[in-house]
């Protein structure tokens, strides 16, 4: 597929009405990450959690005009979901939970046969625009760090973030992500000490 050069798109704050599309894209991303069975949230939960008085997350969406809609007719074609967190070393931070652009809008131009492309760009810049907007939001709120996780086999994503100056703390310092599921969390809480 050829790149749609100079594709018109905009990045804006998600509204409650976008949750169906966000939910659709969450599943697309989970399918890509080979873990679709891990997705338990519905669009109703996103509406409740993201658009209440004290939202648990914020979200940006990438939108294209009607004439560039996807093959299935979608105009919401990317999203970035993030929330505020804290580093006891550095202070206020943002955590980027998801960043996703539908494959047909990444529009990678095939590299010319003689010379490899020097960057992963050649797409429409939608992913970069989403990421920049998230960083801008963080800056406005005095956040000094942006954190995220990436799967080790997801080379395009790792290259994308490395090109933006992100450090891989697992590789550089040996940080591992540890996780309690709901069951093991329940077990921990129910195992009360004998007084």
């Amino acid at each position: 597929m050829c790149a749609a050069v100079n594709m018109n798109f905009k990045i804006r704050r998600a509204t409650k009405e976008d949750c169906k599309d966000i939910s659709r894209m969450i599943m697309e991303l989970a399918v890509f990450e080979k873990m679709p069975d891990q997705v338990k949230t519905s669009h109703e939960e996103l509406e409740r959690d993201g658009f209440c008085q004290n939202p648990l997350f914020e979200c940006l969406v990438a939108e294209v005009p009607e004439e560039h809609k996807s093959n299935e007719g979608f105009t919401i074609i990317g999203y970035g979901l993030y929330f505020y967190t804290y580093s006891t070393w550095k202070g206020r931070s943002l955590y980027l939970d998801d960043l996703y652009v539908m494959p047909e809008f990444r529009a990678q131009v095939s590299p010319p046969p003689v010379q490899a492309s020097v960057t992963t760009a050649g797409g429409n810049g939608i992913g970069k625009a989403l990421l920049s907007k998230v960083a801008e939001v963080g800056k406005k709120n005095q956040c000094v760090q942006l954190r995220l996780t990436v799967l080790n086999w997801n080379t395009p994503a790792r290259d994308f973030y490395a090109a933006k100056g992100a450090q891989d703390l697992t590789v550089s310092s040996g940080w591992h992500f540890i996780h309690f599921t709901e069951q093991s969390l329940d077990d921990l809480v129910n195992e009360a000490p004998k007084d």
Binding site: F83, W89, Y95, R147, G165, L169, H176, T181, L185
Partner: protein, 169 residues
């Protein structure tokens, strides 16, 4: 040993700042700590706090050589996972070395888990350095999974000049 676990208040920030530095020294990264007692007071105890704290305290008769009775802490935030919803992220868990092995770390972690579940969380997450075998063993004994080792998640961070450049429109 008698000890109590309670939510942190703004007066605890001096001790929390002290213990943050002790933990960073143990992790061989003390030079990375920029947060001050004042930052903790502003960021943790305002109308929309960025984090919550739990303190482990011992009675006066068990105070440390330097006179401290606040001898452990846990600091946590609420995460959101697009897959499971609200989750609790335990940013720090620390007990002063002379008070370890008495169930204080487990009690702190259990309190965070209780508060997380009460707030509707379905998961608790944190990071640990791969060489920190005592901590890893402790966490695995509580039923945790290392999703870096098992699934391949890498922790990424963007800060300083790189973040400034990214934030430019």
């Amino acid at each position: 040993m008698d000890f109590s676990i309670r939510p942190a208040n703004v007066e605890d920030c001096k001790d929390i700042a002290r213990m943050i530095m002790e933990l960073a020294e143990y992790e061989k990264m003390a030079e990375h700590v920029k947060v001050t007692q004042r930052d903790l007071e502003q960021d943790g105890f305002s109308k929309n706090p960025f984090f919550h704290g739990i303190i482990a305290e011992v009675p006066e008769q068990h105070r440390t050589k330097e006179g401290h009775t606040k001898i452990g802490y846990a600091l946590y935030c609420y995460f959101y996972s697009s897959w499971v919803g609200r989750a609790v992220y335990m940013e720090d868990l620390y007990v002063m070395p002379e008070f370890r092995g008495k169930g204080i770390g487990k009690a702190l972690m259990r309190k965070v888990a209780q508060l997380g579940l009460a707030a509707g969380c379905n998961q608790m997450n944190f990071t640990v350095l791969e060489w920190n075998k005592p901590s890893l063993d402790f966490y695995f004994s509580q039923g945790c999974f290392d999703i870096t080792a098992t699934v391949g998640y890498h922790c990424m961070r963007c800060e300083g000049e790189a973040l400034e450049r990214l934030a430019q429109p």
